[in-house]
Amino acid sequence: MAFNIYDFTSFTQSIDEALYEWLPPFWALIVEMTIIGLVFLIGYAIIGLFLVYAERKVCAFMQNRVGPNRVGPYGIFQTIADFIKLLMKELVYIKNSDKLLFNIAPFIVIIASFMAIAAIPFAKGLHAIDFDIGIMYVIAVTSLGVVGVLLAGWSSNNKYSLIGAMRSGAQIISYELSVGLSLLTIIVLAGTMQFSEVVELQSSGWFIFKGHIPACIAFVIFLIASTAETNRGPFDLAEAESELTAGFHTEYSGIKFAFFFLAEYMNMFIVASIAATVFLGGWMPFHIGSWEGFNYVMDFIPPLFWYFGKTAFIIWLMMWFKWTFPRLRIDQLLNLEWKYLLPINLVNILIMAFIVLMGWHF
């Protein structure tokens, strides 16, 4: 098996070929799917645990305090301890709730985020599936998560949960538009929706630099809208704790609450990786046009490092938003979307199309 840290294509291909050699095609596919599923599951858990820890540390430093420091050195095992606690907690069943929907809601949320992660390229040749409509697929799949939130809020038979679910529904439905349109701006520039091609196209410079101001505006809008879509930061109205106690997951406990919790962080990760891939070149190193020497040096840094570095930066930005701003009110939230983000976005696409037509982009 050829293993190359800069290009995983041969590595994954050799695994694929070996499996098909040893096994009949049906079982080879099953084994391959299982391996990919397990890898994602483990990665999911690790990333989730790490993000929870990172969030707590980042917010602690922004709030001028130390953060978790009891379990393990610098508190690195804190999230594991939390997770064990959540696992062992009693699952509270509520009287007069719709038990079936109450139970499947967290799974819908987590499956939606799980489906989205499949299309994201982590490095060259390291992605589960490479659709020709990758970006669209991700937008489609992430829009399913809201169903889980709505079901959770309704089936809890709790007024706070219901209000939280309503808010979340209105919020996600409207902000999906901005997410889609801001990505569309880059699709206009790139001319493709396939993630691998999008990344390859950025080998001569990231889209945020290539696309002039419209790309920057699209990036900012994407950051705002995706923060809203993941129910985070100043847009956490669905779980606004000072108004609705815990919003749609008020009645959830134990592992089911952990699912919501994990899904929130994974959605953040997915959104950040999309932003990193589409705007900041994904695993592509930092290249400047025709500076051969500079590009050569940058190529020595492995793509996984680039990918996770960019994603971490965007996640950090989103945490920075969350721990600085007060929360918006629901009507202001919709105002922001319909009065500011959407019109600007539409004009932005026009400008971008114009730039692409005139060939002004790099």
Binding site: F26, L100, I139, G153
Partner: protein, 169 residues
């Protein structure tokens, strides 16, 4: 059994089971949720056929859009304790009849068609082609329907705004 067949059977089973559950469930939100599963499985079938674009549209519009709107409106209007009444015999028999006739029609049509063996490998439909044919006005062009639908949607939008606008008096 190839993996494609297996996945096809899996998706079909999901579609059939949840379709029946959708129409038999007495709780309206459960019915909507089962409908979601049906639509997602349909998208899965499209993916199996490598109609990726159609599958993504199915997910975005039907699963992510329409079902969410249905659920949203159920949230606004109904309470958790509400249960739909079971239909009486007077309604059940005609419904069963209609369903049987429909099923028979479908089965007859499917049986009569002799499927030619797939000669060419299924080709991924390029998004660029779809886009081009959507706005071309030549042969196989959909520019006119596209524009008509746009006008229709615009009218619907304006109508919605007029309806939602508060009366001044």
């Amino acid at each position: 059994m190839t993996s494609n067949q297996f996945m096809f059977l899996l998706f079909s089973a999901v579609i059939v089971i949840f379709s029946i559950l959708t129409v038999t469930s007495r709780r309206i939100l459960r019915a909507a949720t089962f409908l979601l599963f049906v639509l997602v499985s349909t998208a899965g079938l499209y993916f199996l056929l490598k109609y990726n674009y159609l599958a993504a549209i199915q997910l975005t519009l039907y699963a992510g859009g329409i079902v969410v709107l249905i659920i949203f409106s159920i949230l606004l209007t109904s309470h958790i304790s509400e249960k739909l009444p079971t239909a009486g015999l007077l309604k059940k028999w005609p419904a069963a009849l209609v369903a049987l006739v429909g099923a028979a029609l479908c089965i007859v049509v499917i049986l009569q068609y002799n499927f030619p063996g797939s000669v060419v490998d299924t080709e991924v439909v390029n998004v660029r082609d779809i886009g081009n044919s959507l706005i071309s006005y030549g042969e196989k062009g959909y520019a006119l329907p596209f524009e008509v639908i746009s006008v229709l949607l615009l009218a619907a939008l304006i109508g919605a705004i007029v309806l939602a606008k508060k009366r001044k008096d």
